[in-house]
Symmetry: C2
Subunit: 100 residues, 2 copies
DNA sequence: AAATCATATCTATATTTTTCGATATGTCGA
DNA sequence: TCGACATATCGAAAAATATAGATATGATTT
């Protein structure tokens, strides 16, 4: 976990929102069509609709968040689901506590 | 305290280091000439020497950190001392805990 | 009052980030 | 296998950030 890289992700309102939304998928997104749970997170299309930005922008965001380790993608057929990576988020906290 | 603004500060290695150094001024900086304590923090020149960047860059950094509320400046004669603003740093933690 | 010192601000350039439309890739259904 | 669909990647333009040198400001000293 790299503090600067994670901080870059967090220095954008939409990306912070995505992490927030993914904390409670049931409350923030409609149910998926292929599966009846959010165990693997939420598909890109739903996140895009909620954020109101272009498909390519959201995909780029999710990619940078994945690079930073903050989210984990899972393919289900033609959809990619993204969920939070709680371990890395926790690691960010504890490192900040040390460093800051 | 604005999460995005603070995160922008933290998305730069040198600025993170400055916050780290200011946590233990005695360990990271030589004593000041005019006062024998670090109660108001550390003067810009010392921070600049330690960071190895230009005076204007460090001044700009410190200004952005102050805008974000992370540090507090105090004038002592011709020197400006900067110290951490622990309240805002704590607020950042707790907001992150909620949000993330 | 002038010279000096510490810091802040201004101006400019290089780099990075943001964001999109277009296109490519991979998957499913007909 | 072809077309439709979801997502990823590419290429580009605009905006923001990084960084420095030059200059301004404010304080101290002589």
């Amino acid at each position: 976990m790299n503090v600067v890289e994670v901080s870059k992700v967090l220095s954008n309102e939409t990306r912070v929102n995505i992490l927030k939304w993914l904390k409670e998928p049931e409350a923030n997104f409609p149910p998926h069509q292929d599966i009846d749970h959010f165990d693997d997170g939420v598909c890109v299309g739903y996140i895009q609709d909620k954020a109101g930005l272009s498909q390519s922008t959201i995909s780029t965001y999710l990619n940078s968040m994945q690079q930073a380790g903050l989210v984990i993608p899972t393919r289900h057929g033609k959809w990619t689901y993204y969920r939070r990576n709680e371990e890395v988020i926790e690691a960010y906290y504890s490192t900040l506590k040390e460093v800051l």
